[in-house]
Amino acid sequence: MKHRLLTSLRKIAPRGIQTTLMLAFSLIAISLMFVMGIVMYLRFYASSRQDIVSSTQKLLEQSGENLEDYLVSMRQISDAVYYNVIKEYDLTDQEQNLQTGMNLIYEANNERLRGIALYNSSGSLLTAEPVASQKEDPNVTRQDWYEQAVGEMENMHFSTPHIQNLFDDGTLRYYWVISLSRVVEVTQDGVPQTGVLLVDMDYASISRMMKQINETSNGQYYYLCDESGQIIYHSRQVQISRGLYEESNEKVAAYKDGIYDDLLNGVRRKVIVNTISYTGWKLVGVIPQPAFTQGMGSIRYFFAILILLMAMMLVIINRLVSLRISRPILKLNDSVLAYEAGQKPRIYISGSSEIRHLGRSIEASYEQIDELMKKIVQEQTDRRKSELDALQSQINPHFLYNALDSIVWMVEGGRNDEAAFMISELARFFRISLSKGKTIIRVKDELQHAKSYMHIQKIRYKNAFSVSFDIEPDIEDCCTVKLILQPILENAINYGVGDADDGQIVVSGRKKGEDLVLSVQDNGLGMSEETVRYLLTDSTRVRSHGSGVGLMNVNQRIKLLFGPAYGLEIVSEPDVGTQVIVHLPAIPYTEENRQILEQGQAAKLLDRPPIDAAATGRLPAASADGKTEADGKTEADGKEPADEG
């Protein structure tokens, strides 16, 4: 599985240097930006979070101070009623003054007050402002504010919000108040008595104050509870009382001032607590986790867009950079590829110093290779020439020896005319053999050479065989390698008709398509199929009379000059005879063609692959007998005399 995955990854991995560079740069840059983006976002988030907490804390402190001021003012009202009114007047004979005093204070603060009432120790109403009818049996002594006042006489007590149920003003309405109660000393008939002073603060004042700071829309909110956790103000207090919403007010009531982490119904929250002095009330700010992230969505998208735009820019820049880096390499690579494809472009040398150095090195290497190639070709050509010369040189000594031997024999036998004819034929023979050092001659000359040779041989063999020439006149002006028919005829005589009484050799020549076909056919002993198969290919085989070396020599020379498509073809059947067919291209003999052929560039004339290319093994080279040129070359290397004659 892992292996397969790696294989798949390798398959899709970029191959080009430019793609690799661009991808690598882009990946690194985008990764860095991504990390930077996340770090920046987290930093921004932490900073924003800190800001929210700080601003909430400040708002909480400010609101706490406002609330304290409000409560202090209420206490001051209570003090004013007590010290400036109740203590000043005797309730028995100065009730009107007391009422007026209370009325003045109430009217001065009526926006914040619902009422001021004074009760005696048994809970009976002594006086109240505004004047309203007291409800029937309100049972004051059992009310919380009264019990608190009596319970701790030295203090003032703030109740939690409740419905004021003491007076009936006839409006059929009920008011929410927070009661400030304290035990006071009331003078009645000159006798100080204990009473309870009640100042009912309008809950709406506190409610308004709290509503003002609860107007944020990001989910954070503030509430007020007393020291036991009982809610004084909460924007959802009805929902809380009906179980539609939960609040951790009871837990928070135990907290000291500070910032706390809280978890409520799976929602993490920051809870900031600020205690209101004297009352012990807790002003609590709650920042649910979603409040921190509210508005962060836009910032997140903004960051993402910023990163994407930068990524797009970076990809463009990376592409330009990678192009700049890779272009010289790619151009160098292109020129090398073109060179490998056989063209001869200038090797690209530009770009950075390293690339330039590399280009120069490659160019120098290719120049060196070219020179070496030329040298090799020249060497090959020279070698071929020397081989040809060597092969040609193998012919003459044998024949000369034999011819001279025959002439000697004729002169000794007094056959001077024959000797003279033979000498003249021999002279013609050698004139053509020499051909002024040319290798390529006319077919006509080659045929003349063959005829001279046969004349000599016929004299030598006392006309033991007959020879006829059947040549199409058209081919006489075509090019041929010199001295190719003589070895074939020599072999035909030696191994075919030399010892026969009615030996017959037919030399024919005709044009077959674009080719020239010369044939030497005898009715001699013939050869087995196996002998024929190895006659032109295997010079190492043991031959009974050294036969075949001359043929192989001819075959090699033809192939060297005209190419592997040409050469000899041998058809033989034991006791029937042998036909040696010479395949040559039909190239008209001109001086120019001759020079081209002698330079080993027959391909130029043949519209076929060059000989040197075939010789170096680059191109397939099938010989006439179905063997490769390489085979032929191996045989050529094994040099043997053409004839043992």
Partner: protein, 339 residues
């Protein structure tokens, strides 16, 4: 080289497409989101009996990020007016409608059609098959449509309310109601809610020996106020809804109820006041805040979630007597009613 260019173009295109998508989302987020409007159609929208209901809806609207729009209606709102109002509200772009269905035969089908357009929920009562104008006050056979066919409704357990009121009377009289006469006061008698309350009340008193000597059913407050003093003297008067209770309370204050002991179901500060002043012996208060809160929450859910169907809900009620009226546990009841 070509592959490289292709890769480059693909990467750039991909990044561009993602950037455009994010930009569109950002642009959408930057647009000020106007909270969706939910319209409330109730009879006599300014009546004090709706204070807790409206406060509950207001709280739910804040929690659900919706805007509550209370359509201004009078006590004389008819079924046709109600349907026109709903139609107008839908055409004005209300995303949801909360309706107190008035008694009327054609209401059910029409509401169903509107409910196909926008989420719609009923409060206080299910729809009935008979118009109040066509309905006699004592007609007990007019039944509410079966719940399977009805639209979702958030309401009090009306039968339970009627039964609780009767049980309270029984309890106060130690179960001895033989020979006692009872008068019933109902406004909106054609509504399924009134019918269920009356049925529950009558059922609970069936074996008590009490004689329900008269029933006053008037939709018009003035006519109701005029009708009550004209009724024969009864030992007990039971008002089955807030409007009838405040009317009866007012008559009692004016001593026009011939000394009858008044019991009732109500949810206004006036009803509380009459209990506080002793004019009402026992008051049963349905949790209107919860009706408002839950109905708006349900409709908001339906607006926000495509496949959500608003669910019917029954809410509880409280039993108040004069001596526990200002108890701590009832303070929040006051808070909602006094908004």
């Amino acid at each position: 080289m070509k592959d490289d260019r292709k890769l480059f173009i693909i990467i750039e295109l991909l990044l561009a497409v993602v950037t455009v998508i994010l930009a569109v989302i950002l642009f959408e987020e930057q647009q000020p989101q106007t909270p969706k409007r939910i319209s409330l159609v109730i009879q006599d929208s300014d009546a004090s009996q709706w204070a807790a209901l409206k406060y509950g809806m207001q709280m739910a609207a804040e929690d659900q990020d919706m805007t509550l729009f209370v359509v201004n209606t009078s006590a004389s709102l008819t079924v046709a007016d109600e349907l026109d109002t709903i139609k107008d509200e839908i055409s004005r772009g209300s995303a949801g409608i909360i309706v107190q269905p008035l008694p009327g035969s054609q209401l059910q089908d029409q509401l169903r059609q509107y409910a196909a357009k926008v989420p719609l929920i009923l409060i206080e009562s299910q729809t009935t098959g008979t118009s109040a104008d066509e309905q006699t006050a004592t007609d007990e056979t007019a039944a509410a449509v079966s719940p399977a066919e009805s639209l979702p409704v958030v309401e009090a357990d009306h039968t339970g309310l009627g039964q609780a009121l009767a049980q309270t009377i029984l309890s106060d009289y130690n179960g001895k109601l033989t020979g006692k006469t009872i008068g019933l006061v109902i406004s909106n008698a054609g509504s399924a809610a009134a019918q269920a309350r009356e049925a529950g009340f009558r059922q609970a008193l069936q074996t008590s020996g009490a004689d329900i000597s008269w029933t006053v059913a008037e939709t018009d407050t003035d006519r109701l106020e005029a009708a009550l003093p004209a009724q024969p003297q009864a030992d007990i008067v039971a008002a089955l809804d807030s409007r009838s209770l405040t009317t009866a309370g007012s008559c009692a204050a004016d001593k026009n109820l011939h000394g009858a002991v008044l019991y009732g179901i109500g949810n206004s500060t006036e009803a509380i006041y009459y209990l506080d002043t002793g004019l009402v012996k026992t008051l049963i208060v349905p949790d209107e805040f919860k009706i408002g809160y839950q109905s708006l929450t349900e409709i908001a859910k339906s607006i926000k979630r495509l496949l959500y169907q608003p669910q019917s809900q029954l809410v509880s009620f409280s039993l108040l007597k004069r001596d526990n009226l200002f108890a701590k546990e009832n303070q929040d009841l006051f808070y909602a009613l006094s908004q």
